[in-house]
Subunit: 396 residues, 2 copies
């Protein structure tokens, strides 16, 4: 049948996700990949899950398998405040916390309730690709904020808010994907002031906050400007991403809209998985397991930074994250990282060219994202060394 | 902060879901509710789930907890063809089957890829409310098809397709929610012919197909016009709704769009729950458990139809479904079912006024939806009797 005539205007503008295609290539056998963006399978608490599944079926019985309110499973909403207070300094009541099908679900819902076609929204450059994918179907106009090695430059935000009726700002302030950068305290305060002065709305996406391997935790911007921030986080990095449990705290007047559109999208997030998450937190398992995840990743991060230092040529610089999953490498100006990518894949080592993380397709081709959670230290060392060799090799 | 200025145009038009509010009222203690639309908790295979959870963690290990392709977990896509061939007469390969977070996820994705503002889409009157909720944010113009006791009247579809550039038709052909009606074979054939002649797209939503208590299964329209139908179904009624596992088969040219927008919405459906579903089907548990669900619901359906026959006054008529979860009652012309609803709730018995299932707010106030899956036979008999007494009672 003729499908073209049936497509919505927004659909005609969509294109296949390039990073998705890259990840298919790099999952081929024999490939050493620093391209992924996912937790190590050995970080998953499988033995704990064997206990939790039985516990949930005993404790909640059919309620864990039944339809449930869109807002979230009550025991999970009751378990989260203690964790958020201890780990993020967020004071919240269960009714303040809403559950989503991964953070992605919140980003889609926010796009749906805020973005009319051509509405300006402000994003970092580079930014999290999944956020662009969530927002794209609502056809926003992306306004790019300036970032440096310390993340978003507050003056850039101020200038944009003074100039444009921005619907919302989207930021990953801590261990950002793709750069690994963290916005320091002084800038967080400055950003909180700016959004309050301009009565602007910030979506603060914080999937990696708990994955800190050194240094001091910083306050989330939500605590500095509570009425102007939708704080979004997930259990994907500290429990298991395959369970698809995200959560968020939104200013009161926004909550009902977000819940209403989520209801139209999936009715609610898996009750069973929410029950597992509730028991994981409430039973003290998260507190017990998180140090193991950190112990697993810290030496991998150190191995990657050490290898970059040892092997990478002059003219290349990279971020030095204290946590998260990624290191961001910048080559010399005008360096062609896509060309390098193709040479590397032929030699079975992969990364993600950084240009895919920019809303502007014309910039960022001298950058790359490296992931350090999916391979052990020796593999990381070998892969970074090989990358350096391919960079140094003469090519036709 | 000022939220109004931030809302998208589509959001300003949204209103609180009335049925959601009704369900809150009727879940109060002491209420005998025929208002629900959900499976009986005693229909859930809890003991089987205790086995499956351990099996999945042993068999798949970390893969059951990891990020997974948007298309769906391979073992589930491999398990479904045998089931679909046996139960629905659908011949499909694993790659033809895509997984969603409940059927709802498919409806949202279809809305997103097909509907531009004011595009006409064709729906039955009454129709499934959740579908309207999925489509509403994309701001379609609903074109109403004519239905009678045998469901959609094919001539009405023909007339609409000849007149309007309909983006898609949405139908629940079997044991429809809210009416319980099933479109007979001859009409299915006619509908299949019409959509092929007009090169139109049908979304065939089939959540209740397996819940047949008497009579012969009918072919799904997908098998009669395979290239013109997106066939959508779910494991919510035969496994557990809290796991949020839906699946669908779409014409080849549409698949990539549906997968792409789903990726932006939730990345993928819970891997763990998909693994549970795969083992539930592959291990023969579905086949073993489904007869228990049917044995549970059949006498409840019979109890409701018997009680309506015994107690309801002249001038009221109702559907006589051979399966599903609902009976549809029509009162005399101009009967005020909302007024009746308020009197009934005061006396602790509840139903859903039928008017909420119409896209046109001006029609359907003489109708009601009764659910028979959530109460036992004696409770159903008592509730229907009480409804009849309240109908008969003089009121001020």
């Amino acid at each position: 049948m003729n499908i073209q005539k049936l497509l919505a205007d927004r659909t005609r503008k969509m294109s296949v996700n390039t990073i998705r295609e890259i990840l298919k290539v790099v999952s081929q056998p024999g490939m050493v990949s620093l391209a992924g963006g996912i937790p190590a399978p050995e970080s998953f608490p499988i033995d704990i899950l064997k206990i939790l599944t039985q516990k949930v079926l005993e404790k909640y019985g059919p309620s864990a398998l039944q339809y449930d309110p869109t807002e979230g499973f009550s025991p999970l909403r009751e378990a989260l405040p203690g964790y958020l207070a201890a780990k993020r300094g967020i004071q919240a009541k269960p009714k303040d916390i809403l559950i989503a099908s991964g953070s992605q679900g919140v980003l889609d819902a926010a796009g749906k309730i805020f973005i009319s076609r051509n509405d300006p929204i402000a994003v970092e450059a580079p930014t999290y690709l999944g956020a662009l994918q969530a927002f794209d179907p609502y056809e926003p106009r992306y306004v790019t904020l300036v970032s440096d090695a310390y993340g978003l430059v507050p003056e850039s935000l101020e200038e944009v808010l003074a100039r444009e009726p921005i619907k919302f700002i989207y930021l990953v302030p801590t261990f950002q994907n793709p750069t690994g950068r963290t916005i320091p305290l002084e800038r967080r305060r400055h950003i909180a002031d700016i959004i309050q002065i301009h009565d602007a709305l910030l979506i603060e996406d914080d999937p990696y906050g708990d994955l800190r391997y050194s240094g001091q935790a910083l306050p989330v911007i939500k605590t500095l400007a509570p009425e102007h921030v939708i704080y979004v986080s997930t259990l994907s990095k500290v429990f298991a991403p395959g369970l698809r449990i995200g959560y968020y705290l939104a200013p009161k007047k926004i909550r009902d809209w977000l819940v209403m559109v989520k209801q139209g999208v999936d009715l609610h997030t898996s009750t069973f998985n929410q029950a597992l998450a509730a028991e994981y937190i409430q039973g003290g398992y998260l507190e017990q397991h998180l140090p193991h995840i950190i112990e697993l990743y810290k030496p991998r991060k150190d191995a990657m930074l050490g290898a970059l230092q040892r092997y990478f040529p002059e003219g290349f610089t990279w971020s030095k994250p204290e946590g998260g999953m990624f290191v961001w490498v910048e080559g010399p100006e005008n360096y062609d990282m896509q060309e390098l990518y193709h040479r590397c894949v032929q030699q079975n080592v992969a990364f993600v060219p950084g240009k895919f993380f920019y809303s502007d397709p014309e910039v960022g081709n001298h950058t790359m994202r490296l992931n350090f959670t999916m391979a052990d230290e020796a593999t990381i060392d070998g892969a970074v060394k090989k990358l350096a060799e391919i960079i140094a090799a003469p090519h036709v």
